[in-house]
């Protein structure tokens, strides 16, 4: 059979995100692929330069629907460091709890998606049901299921009551039991082993060379984990280990993720049980001094880096977001070559791609159906002109 071009995305049941792969396949084997991310650039970075820190936080939270806390924490951390303020321990712990709950629900979601991609819908249904427990916990704590909006410059927005802590603790045993079950399934379930073993393999050298981050890197035996390398929040206090695996294939990445859920459960339990007393925020100055910082954060998908530069006002000069997905694309393109056509979804999903993180600039107008980039002031002006009485 001659070479055929299989175009996957931007509309495809396997990838519900705006990305396009042109896959050149020879029969069922992939020869090479081309990648196009240019469908949904939303202009978050430009927009972030045009508003003050308080307004930037909710904006950055909307960079991604899954790791929303990651972005706002990374940014808040960076600004706090530039301002040289220390957030209270209770705020650090609360941020950690939310961060780890977020990691848990992200990994459970991923496990379900990976199972769905190999047609194993039972596991998909089960993990998503258990993910609800995590999301309920977060909702009880913050009021929101997805965009928690917990962070403020200088601390967190709302405190945890003892009742919330107990409710969260009461949910943990069941979750632990379920996650142990998933660990068993990942290690022994026959069709999952068939589909995951040896697929999309990256050796340790390749993983280093292509700059992978997060579970993708750790599955290849690289123990980079920002939480240990550059401890932030309460990760220096809590007992936990960096999870690595030597398989380097999708199977390894799955194992790393389910083990990470177990570690997250431990961290959450520790933080809930040892929640320090005290204030949840300190007052932060309006303006930040001139400075620049590379704020690193271990998002569920890997290392997230916010490069922030301030210019002495209440706005940032530049915030440069490098998402883990962008760092992992290179490795995906490399390990897809010579693989089976049937394995594309699994390999691509194995890095847990998050396209909304990766492309960050565009605004589509509902009425004219045209895409364009507009400034925040323009948005406000337009909003006011459209709804004069509401503003």
């Amino acid at each position: 059979m001659p070479e055929v071009v299989v175009s996957i995305g931007p509309h495809h049941p396997a990838l519900k995100e705006p990305v396009n792969f042109k896959i050149i396949a020879d029969g069922e084997k992939i020869v090479r692929l081309e990648l196009d991310l240019s469908y949904n650039h939303r202009g978050v970075e430009k927009a972030a330069e045009q508003r003050d820190f308080i307004r930037v936080l909710p904006l950055l939270e909307r960079v991604c629907g899954i790791c929303s806390h990651s972005h706002s924490t990374a940014f808040a951390q960076g600004i706090e460091e530039i301002m040289q303020i220390e957030i209270p321990p209770r705020a650090r712990y609360i941020r950690t709890i939310i961060a780890e709950l977020e990691r848990m629900h992200s990994h459970l979601l991923w496990l379900g998606v990976a199972a769905h991609l190999i047609g194993f819908n039972t596991l998909f249904m089960w993990t998503w049901r258990d993910r609800e427990a995590v999301q309920d916990t977060v909702e009880e704590m913050s009021g929101n299921r997805v965009h928690y909006n917990m962070n403020e410059i200088g601390g967190v927005r709302c405190d945890l009551t003892p009742a919330q802590v107990n409710a969260a603790l009461a949910r943990l045993p069941n979750l632990e039991e379920r996650v142990n079950k998933y660990v068993d399934m990942v290690n022994y379930e026959e069709t999952m082993l068939l589909r995951f073993r040896g697929v999309g393999r990256l050796s340790k050298e390749e993983a280093l060379r292509y700059g992978t981050v997060g579970p993708t890197a750790r599955a290849s035996g690289i123990d980079y984990d920002t939480r240990k390398d550059d401890p932030y929040l309460a990760y220096a206090d809590a007992p936990w280990n960096v999870v690595t695996d030597t398989n380097g294939d999708v199977y390894g990445r799955t194992r790393v993720r389910v083990w990470e859920i177990q570690e997250s459960l431990r961290i959450v339990r520790y933080c809930l049980e040892n929640l320090p007393e005290g204030a949840i925020r300190v007052p932060a100055p309006k303006n930040a001094p001139k400075g620049e910082i590379l704020s690193r954060y271990e998002a569920p998908r890997g290392e997230l880096a916010h490069f922030i530069r301030t210019n002495g006002t209440d706005r940032v000069e530049r915030v440069d977001i490098r998402t883990p997905t962008l760092a992992n694309w290179t490795s995906v393109a490399m390990c897809l070559v010579n693989q089976n056509l049937a394995d594309i979804p699994v390999i691509v999903a194995a890095i847990d791609p998050c396209l909304s993180c990766t492309s960050r600039i565009t605004l589509v107008e509902n009425q004219t159906k045209k895409a364009g980039v507009i400034s925040f002031d323009e948005l406000i002006r337009r909003y006011r002109s459209r709804n004069p009485e509401e503003v």
Partner: protein, 159 residues
Amino acid sequence: MTGPLTLESIAEKMKEFGVSEQARKNRIRVTTTPDKVHDTIRTVQAMFGFDRLITISAVDNTRTLELIYHLTGPHRIIVSIAVELERDQPAMPTIFDILPPAGIYERQIHDLFGIVFTGNPNMKRIMLNEDWPADEYPLRKDWKPDPDTFYGGIKGERS
């Protein structure tokens, strides 16, 4: 590499490439010139094992365009190599040949800031739509959205 790896030893070595300063407890910032970036990265790779590119940040400070390469390694020290480029016709030698993941960051910066990375084999659009005007770089400070123009230069009727 001689002796234990310390921040001082790296900072000392970096002096020959440019101004070196310690930014934070485990971070070193080196300010250098565009033609030395390649050598600097090769040196830190060879001598100190900085094998991992965290990201390439680009900043428009209205006078020049800055690029900052953040590298780290198994010792978890971060070295940030900063360069400044001219605003008109900015060009920069690629580091794609020594650090493959740089390719995708360079393409992104090319899209958003218009810096051309000479030697990068695949300098195509990645972030912006294919019908985005060729000479507009939205993250530059002097870029303002034209109120009458939408993507691809379509003159739009405003709602």
